[in-house]
């Protein structure tokens, strides 16, 4: 087993446990952790079974197999970022509706007081 393989397995495992512990402590909601868990498990899978990575790299024409790992990482990070943009859009929409409702309710309340 190569040095790098050991490091990457250990690193991926630490990352996995970090995510899981965040969920356990309720600092990360399950629905927002799924993409992270997915990315970590793919990294872990490639670290443990290196031939898979080499087969894949060969298939898409990447000469240096570990580069494929970086490719996966980047795809994963981009996917997570887009996921966040979607969530932020949803949140800002909900936020807008809440602000409007509060203003309308406050107005109604002050009308009733008169």
């Amino acid at each position: 087993m190569d040095k790098i393989q050991i490091y990457s397995i250990v690193g991926s495992l630490l990352f996995l446990f970090f995510i899981l512990s965040l969920i356990k402590k309720r600092k990360l909601k399950e629905e927002y952790s799924i993409l992270w868990l997915f990315v970590v498990s793919i990294l872990l899978m490639f670290s443990v079974f290196r031939p898979i990575l080499e087969i894949f790299a060969d298939l898409v024409g990447i000469y240096y197999a570990p580069t494929a790992l970086l490719l996966f990482l980047i795809i994963g990070v981009v996917a997570i970022l887009i996921h966040y943009s979607v969530i932020i859009s949803k949140l800002s929409e909900q936020n807008k509706v809440l602000i409007q409702e509060i203003a309308l309710l406050k107005h109604k309340l002050s009308e009733q007081k008169k």
Binding site: E93, I99, Q100, A103, L104
Partner: protein, 250 residues
């Protein structure tokens, strides 16, 4: 003005979005009130940091709805539509709080709606034959021209002043807009949204004044972003299915 229509019996709500307009708001409210005392004026104070809401409330001729945070013009106007919808108004007028619109012309916008010739009426600066009044800067006019071309392609109708914030809507339109009004730079996108949902749009020639105090909400640096964002929003509004179809498809 020759108008055989009874405006008195109509339940008209004038929505005035205002963000930091303490210098302009009083004259705007008085202008509307003088045009017709029966209009219900609703000022949407869009989280102003100055005393817009306080000054407006002092006049006692308008209802003031204060948003706790600044939402931008779209969110503010949408609040007005929500109010108009909840309180069962027949017609909603959108009237800017910066004093560039002329309240006496509200009747002109009401007419096609009362006659049931249109669901939405837009006050346009560019329909007068002998051009008069304030017609914006050269660059802005180019922008508006681009929107006109896009509108023609997308909805097959000439809308000469897509960005005008002086508009009238009937009950059906109020109901739709109360929950679907676009968020920022909403005016051109709304035109597409309305047509896409089979509302009849009509333009009426109006005059506009140049704002007296303060600055417009769109600066030079923002204008490129503005164009890109608006064109994107218009295209997306065009590519979406109508709300009715979306509901039917679940």
């Amino acid at each position: 003005m020759q108008c055989a229509i009874e405006f008195e019996n109509l339940n008209v709500c004038v929505i005035v979005p205002a963000y930091n307009e303490e210098e302009n708001i009083v004259s705007v409210l008085q202008d509307i009130h003088n045009a017709n005392e029966n209009y219900t004026i609703v000022v949407i104070d869009d989280g102003s940091v100055d005393s817009t809401a306080k000054i407006a409330a002092k006049e006692k001729i308008a209802k003031i709805i204060s948003l706790p945070c600044n939402l931008g013009i779209g969110g503010a106007v949408e609040t007005g539509f929500k109010y108009a919808y909840e309180n069962n108004f027949d017609i909603a007028i959108q009237f800017d709080g910066d004093g560039q619109h002329i309240a006496a012309e509200i009747e002109k916008l009401l007419e096609p709606i009362v006659k049931n010739e249109a669901d939405a009426v837009i006050g346009s600066r560019f329909l007068h034959k002998n051009q008069q009044g304030f017609r914006s800067t050269f660059m802005r006019r180019i922008g508006i021209k681009i929107f006109e071309i896009i509108c023609r392609i997308f909805i097959g109708q000439r809308i000469s002043d897509c960005t005008s914030g002086f508009r009238a809507y009937n009950k059906k339109a109020i109901e739709m807009l109360a929950n679907n009004y676009p968020t920022d730079f909403p005016e051109p996108e709304t035109v597409i949204l309305l047509k896409k949902n089979y509302f009849r749009i009509m333009e009426i020639a109006v005059e506009m004044r140049e704002r007296i105090y303060g600055s417009s909400s769109i600066g030079n640096l923002k204008s490129i972003y503005y164009m890109v964002k608006v064109i994107l929003s218009m295209s997306m509004a065009k590519s979406r299915l109508s709300l009715k179809t979306r509901r039917e498809n679940g």
